[in-house]
Symmetry: C2
Subunit: 243 residues, 2 copies
């Protein structure tokens, strides 16, 4: 069943009314008809199975036939701090990691970033990618896209267990990290992934001072857009969130 | 240090001579000079650190200064059987899974494949993607790209422990699968990933009859190009190959 995140103001009792792009998607792209059912989501975690009743001009109205709590949100809250990288790569990371269950995206700039701080248009585009991926994979809460920050901001004192992926870290790996405090059983985690050119020694030093643990991802050097995905997949797997 | 897979006929004693695209890459793209070092690979698992000695027209000649066994190959042999999917997606899967350590790619066609059987040009392009990714991530043996087959061919009797990713499988997951025979400790594994539209019930039935285990990857429905990556990441992690 097709899923759509819509505004809370679209709901009134058991009635749902949507316009704009969502209505266009339902009528013109999917060509749904009265009697067909969709799932509407208000980003609260609830899912509203809704039967379409009326389609008028650019408005679709329906009646909620079932309300249930979404089951696809992972128990662990992973924040993926992703350095600004080339547009197609960061979009890829955002899309895939939404599917994999990341709950917060925190873009950041650092010394070796070639990509510039994203414009408002770009942030809107990333939001749209998150939304589409979240709808497609069955999530019931939209991952949050934080405004971009600088690397130093990530190194502020924090109680959140944080790791930074570093291709030159040969001693500490993900397996051991996840098996020990403060990562063991942590319900909130941060994974920090660098740009194409990697982190500087100085940045890794900063991170260490802030209690952020540099870890390697094995013997093969993963591209930045692969590294975050692999780390998130592995953490989700370790937590029983990947089947 | 830059790495290049080259033909075995480029080696003569401690001398290496390359022409063609590799020479062009070294001289015109990377602008390396005599005295610079690169790593040549003959796809045997050995790495040959080589000092460039002469650059003539379209030929680069050098002397091997160190020979060592590559350390980046994983101990586990994963064959990724990937249904034919849209060009950009399959290229993405091939690139990323080469980085992650897949040793064999087996493209296949099945009932819901929209993409057609790849032309020779496409196979050559995929080979190039494998090679480039393998060089970049530090591998010393090129993953093998098998000629495409049909789904039925994957269901022939085989002693290789095989799983098929199926979004409708809710009972069996990856964690339990990997913790039990024949997957537990297996040195050779097959992961079968379907097309955008998924597998048919009939195909899953065929697979089951052939001893291939359908598994789910958790509560979120992953796109086909995400599923293979996530599964390979998880398996590599479970085997200690992801740090």
């Amino acid at each position: 069943m097709h899923r759509f995140f819509i505004g809370a103001d679209s709901f009134a009792g058991d009635q749902v009314t949507v316009g704009g792009a969502t209505a266009g998607q339902i009528t013109r792209v999917l060509r749904l008809k009265p009697g067909d059912r969709v799932v509407f989501l208000d980003n609260s975690g609830w899912e509203y199975e809704t039967e379409i009743e009326r389609i008028q001009r650019d408005t679709v109205a329906g009646r909620i036939v079932r309300k249930s709590l979404g089951a696809a949100e992972p128990a662990i809250h992973i924040t993926l701090c992703q350095a600004l990288i080339k547009a197609d790569k960061i979009e890829f990371v955002i899309q895939k990691c939404t599917e994999l269950g990341v709950k917060t995206f925190q873009p950041f700039g650092c010394a070796r970033c070639v990509a510039t701080m994203p414009s408002d248009e770009k942030m809107t585009r990333w939001q749209a990618i998150i939304r589409e991926a979240a709808e497609q994979c069955g999530r019931s809460i939209l991952p949050v896209l934080q405004p971009p920050v600088h690397f130093e901001d990530l190194c502020r004192p924090s109680v959140v267990a944080s790791m930074i992926l570093w291709e030159r870290e040969r001693t500490h790996g993900l397996s051991k990290l996840l098996a020990n405090a403060p990562f063991l059983g942590a319900t909130v985690l941060r994974v920090i992934v660098g740009p194409e050119g990697g982190f500087t020694e100085k940045e890794i030093g900063h991170a260490r001072n802030a209690g952020i643990v540099p870890i390697g991802l094995g013997k093969r050097v993963l591209r930045t857009e692969t590294a975050g995905l692999a780390a998130v997949s592995a953490i989700m797997f370790e937590r029983g969130e990947l089947g």
